[in-house]
């Protein structure tokens, strides 16, 4: 006997109520959904109950989902990400980090890692060093794509060397003295060239530092001025 015949109305109503509430066994739910696709009386009974119970859900306090949810949706559907019109690679969007100046380096590194993990398509393998002063505020961020023969150094604070001085970048190995990597040219985004790919050059280097030096860099091959900033080398690959 069809579920939608008048004699079965009471049973249909009960099944539809439990369907909308959610207590129906899976097999019953699947069956009702299948029937509802071709039987308008059954479909109507289900939507009537959804409507009756819908008001309950209105009081659930809203909770904003993480941005990755929307990004996942547009990613799966292959749509343009309308909420994130910025097309730059994430490491060029470091402006946002300036507002996080007081956050700990660990937190900043984590943000970078999360951003990297979730962003589809994944950005190329990258080295990142957040160079910060003793107050833990990031001042410079050095990055390199794998295979690139330079470090890109972006200023995120207002750190600039005093007149007649320069910043020099150093590799700090596990053991042994600092190794000079070169003077950081002036400008908000500067390049420090390497002879070899940066990821190879820094493969055994746990951290970098920046010291204040005379023009042209340290004359001794060791830092001569104060070391202002340092940070660990994060490898995102």
């Amino acid at each position: 006997m069809k579920l939608s015949t008048p004699q079965r109305r009471e049973r249909l109503d009960r099944l539809a109520a439990e369907y909308a509430l959610g207590t129906s066994p899976v097999r019953v739910r699947r069956r009702l959904e299948a029937i509802a696709r071709r039987d308008r009386v059954v479909a109507r009974a289900l939507s009537d109950w959804e409507r009756r119970l819908a008001g309950f859900a209105e009081a659930v306090p809203p909770m904003t989902p993480a941005p990755r949810v929307w990004q996942g949706i547009v990613g799966r559907l292959g749509l343009d990400d309308l909420d994130a019109p910025r097309k730059d690679p994430w490491w060029q969007r470091l402006g946002v980090w300036q507002s996080l100046a007081t956050a700990s380096l660990a937190v900043i590194a984590l943000i970078g890692v999360l951003e990297w993990r979730r962003a589809p398509p994944a950005p190329p393998a990258t080295l990142v060093v957040v160079l910060a002063g003793s107050d833990a505020k990031p001042a410079l961020i050095a990055t390199a794509l794998r295979g690139e023969r330079h470090l890109t150094v972006k200023r995120v604070g207002n750190a600039t060397p005093e007149q007649g001085k320069v910043y020099e970048l150093w590799a700090l190995p596990e053991a042994g003295p600092p190794q000079p990597l070169g003077v950081i040219p002036p400008g908000n985004i500067a390049r420090v060239p390497f002879d070899h790919p940066a990821d190879e050059r820094l493969s055994n280097i746990p951290s970098l530092a920046v010291s204040v030096e005379p023009p042209g860099g340290s004359p001794t091959g060791k830092p001569t001025g104060p070391v202002l900033f340092s940070g660990s080398v994060e490898r995102m690959y």
Binding site: A17, R52, A54, V69
Partner: protein
Amino acid sequence: MNDASSEAALRVDDLGALLARVALGDQPAFATLYRRSAAHLYAIALRMVRERAIAEEILQEAFVSVWHHAAAYDAAKSQPMTWLAAIVRHRALDQLRRREIDTVPLEVGDDRRLAWDVPADAPTPVELLLAGADARAVRDCVDTLDAGPKQAIALAFFHGLSHRELAAHMREPLGTVKSWVRRGLERLRRCLESASPPP
């Protein structure tokens, strides 16, 4: 959000109108629909599945489905939020029933302990049932339910508990719980129908 059609989408307040445009493949409308409804739908899913990662997955699946099936929305049959919430709730239920085999242990006790990833001071299911029944008639009808049926219906609706889980959680025999749910729903329907004739 920078072209003319997205500007227009931002001005559309009505979720139903947004859904109609989503059915035509309007991406800015889809983004606006998400912004308007995601927090509400996510909260519903999170209460049911109780784990952020799973609730996020459900929300994603639901919106992917909405993009493909927005044309199926029938404004004559339901409010847009009702339709969207039903999609999310049924996906959450599927997820819960699938997990039932390797059952997530349910604690016996008060309502709050069901909500792991939900803030501790969030309203309980029964509070929600009463508060959510925003139409006066629905609230009055919920009020007429006895404590047992009221709590069973609230737990089933907001946390997606099955009969068996309700019985375990409420420490009542399965038959008692089943009949609470059945009688509670029947009473709600009668009460609502007498308050306002069906459309």
